[in-house]
């Protein structure tokens, strides 16, 4: 528990000024433009939008500038701004099969309809520092294909579904639960888990996903498909009564297929882990898909033995705005709390010392 304290206004004001100055850095250098962050630090923008759970590239870039590049702080700023906006409604579910593809790869099928499209990726870079960027070298023009990639690409998992080796996802037509409107309750349905994971901390998702690969709730995954591109967002405004497109959002989708030995009721088959996140964020989408699969342990009748399979553990700790808030609240004044602890410890020590003295005397 912390208590309210008074005073320190002047110090706080000076601290804010110092923070603004630290953010500005060397004043002989031009100030970085929000538009530059949006364009040239696009993956940071994607991460902030994902973890804030608000898609707005310009605001995410502004938050990054304000937070001096501290992406968790930026997500916090954007999440806080979110609370000032009314919600006009919900979209129709986005159609990722009709994505305008920038990248689409499969690690399970060499040849698949639509092909493997590498798009912009770090995967085939040498991970050597590019000193050309130190002197602002401009990149060469990009090659352009003779024709476009397919406007519609079937999922790489479609073949497995057709053969009955991978269960199709059901749609019971019920509206999904919403984490932003109702508190998190356990057991959590999969739709709620996915919402929490989609805005979860990338580092946490990565570590949890990694733990499943290392045997803590092993799921034997294959990356059946990763795709990144833009999809149209459609809504049905009450005053119109029909669906209209409001624009596009960039998303990354990951389909993991996992070995499943079967259970008393289910024959051996593959199971699915699903990841869908704002922006271009493959590590995040893959982590989400691994954790989504691990969290299906309960529904699949698997033993829950590892942290990644424990939904209460995962969902309670995946949000970095909450986690950061609770860890950082320790910086707030705990003077009274600590004083009582201090007195308690002193009293216990005195009591223990007294007991030792008595037993010493008794022994003599």
């Amino acid at each position: 528990m912390y208590v309210a304290v008074k005073g320190g206004e002047a110090a706080i004001e000076a601290s804010r000024a110092l923070l603004a100055d630290a953010r500005r850095g060397d004043r002989t250098l031009p100030q970085i433009e929000v538009a530059q962050i949006e364009q040239q630090l696009g993956l940071a923008v994607d991460r902030v939008m994902g973890e804030a759970s608000l898609y707005d590239r310009e605001l995410a870039a502004l938050a990054i500038k304000q937070a001096q590049g501290d992406l968790q702080e930026a997500a916090f700023l954007l999440r806080a701004f979110r609370t000032t906006l009314p919600r006009f409604g919900v979209s129709l579910p986005i159609e990722t099969a009709r994505m305008t593809i920038a990248r689409r790869i499969s690690a399970t099928y060499k040849d698949l309809p639509g092909g493997q499209v590498l798009g912009p990726t770090f995967d085939y870079t040498h991970r050597l520092l590019d000193f050309g960027l130190l002197c602002n070298e401009e990149p060469p023009p990009t090659p352009v294909g003779d024709g476009p990639v397919d406007a519609e690409m079937p999922r790489a998992t479609a073949a497995l579904e057709a053969e009955g080796l991978l269960a199709r996802e059901d749609d019971d037509g019920r509206p999904p639960p919403d984490l932003t409107r109702e508190p998190l309750m356990f057991p959590a349905p999969r739709a709620l888990r996915l919402q929490a994971l989609a805005r979860g901390d990338e580092g946490f998702l990565l570590a949890m996903g990694y733990s499943t690969q290392r045997g803590y709730g092993g799921t034997h995954p294959f990356a059946a498909e990763i795709r990144f591109g833009t999809v149209a967002v459609e809504i049905v405004p009450e005053e119109l009564g029909f669906a209209i497109e409001v624009g596009d959002v960039a998303v990354t989708e990951c389909q993991m297929v996992n070995q499943f030995k079967g259970s008393k009721t289910k024959p051996p088959q593959f199971t699915r882990g699903y990841g869908l996140v704002f922006g271009h964020a493959e590590r995040r989408a893959m982590g989400m898909a691994l954790v989504d699969r691990a969290l299906q342990a309960r529904e699949l009748g698997e033993d829950i033995v590892a942290p990644a399979q424990d939904e209460e553990f995962v969902l309670s700790h995946v949000d970095n705005v909450e986690a950061s808030g609770f860890v950082q609240h320790l910086k707030l004044p705990h003077y009274v709390d600590f004083q009582s602890e201090l007195e308690l410890i002193r009293a216990l020590r005195a009591e223990a010392a007294g007991r030792a003295e008595t037993s010493c005397k008794a022994a003599e």
Partner: protein
């Protein structure tokens, strides 16, 4: 007529203005074909840059008059995905959207919902939606909607072609030994 800043209020306004509108004012949204057309132009307008909308409106002679019914105001839409891509829906996260509703002197109402926070862009898009329901349809279609639709399609095509240049044909190597 009181203006209610609520979705449902708009129904009332719409309902009460319908009978005072001249038939020529509202000719296209009643048929299924008209609906499909309006759906299409609203989608195009949602992606039209502000300066293009400004240019199209300022080219109109006489300059159109309009009154704001609601907004422009910025809020959010909760974007939904589906489990596995095609299963039950789940809430992915929100996006900023700006909406506006305007009324023309003839009583026609234009609506717009556009991604982002550009208030002026949303208002101009709503105005265009209104005007496209009037006798200016053919003019605006030719001067704004069709060229903008072509530009958006070309931009998309360009992206898809640049992706296509990165399409791989993996070749399985002959196993050695």
């Amino acid at each position: 007529m009181p203006i209610v800043r609520m979705c449902r209020g708009l129904y009332l306004i719409e309902g009460s203005t319908l009978h005072i509108m001249s038939p020529a004012c509202h000719p296209r949204t009643t048929s299924p074909n008209g609906l499909a057309q309006r759906r299409l132009w609203l989608g195009v307008l949602a992606r039209t840059p502000r300066h293009t909308l400004e240019a199209a409106i300022s080219a109109l002679d006489p300059a159109p008059a309009w009154r704001r019914l609601r907004g422009p105001e910025t809020g959010m839409i909760m974007v939904r995905g589906r489990l596995g891509g095609d299963g039950a829906p789940f809430n992915l996260g929100e996006m900023t959207v700006t909406r506006c509703s305007v009324t023309l002197p003839c009583g026609t109402i234009g609506h717009a919902y556009v991604a982002g926070r550009d208030l002026r862009r949303a208002e101009l898009a709503a105005l265009c939606d209104g005007l496209l329901q009037t006798s200016l349809f053919a003019l605006l279609k030719a001067a704004l909607i069709e060229p903008e639709q072509r530009r958006q399609a070309a931009q998309r095509e360009e992206r898809l072609r640049r992706s296509a240049a990165t399409r791989v044909d993996f070749q399985t190597l002959v196993r050695m030994g």
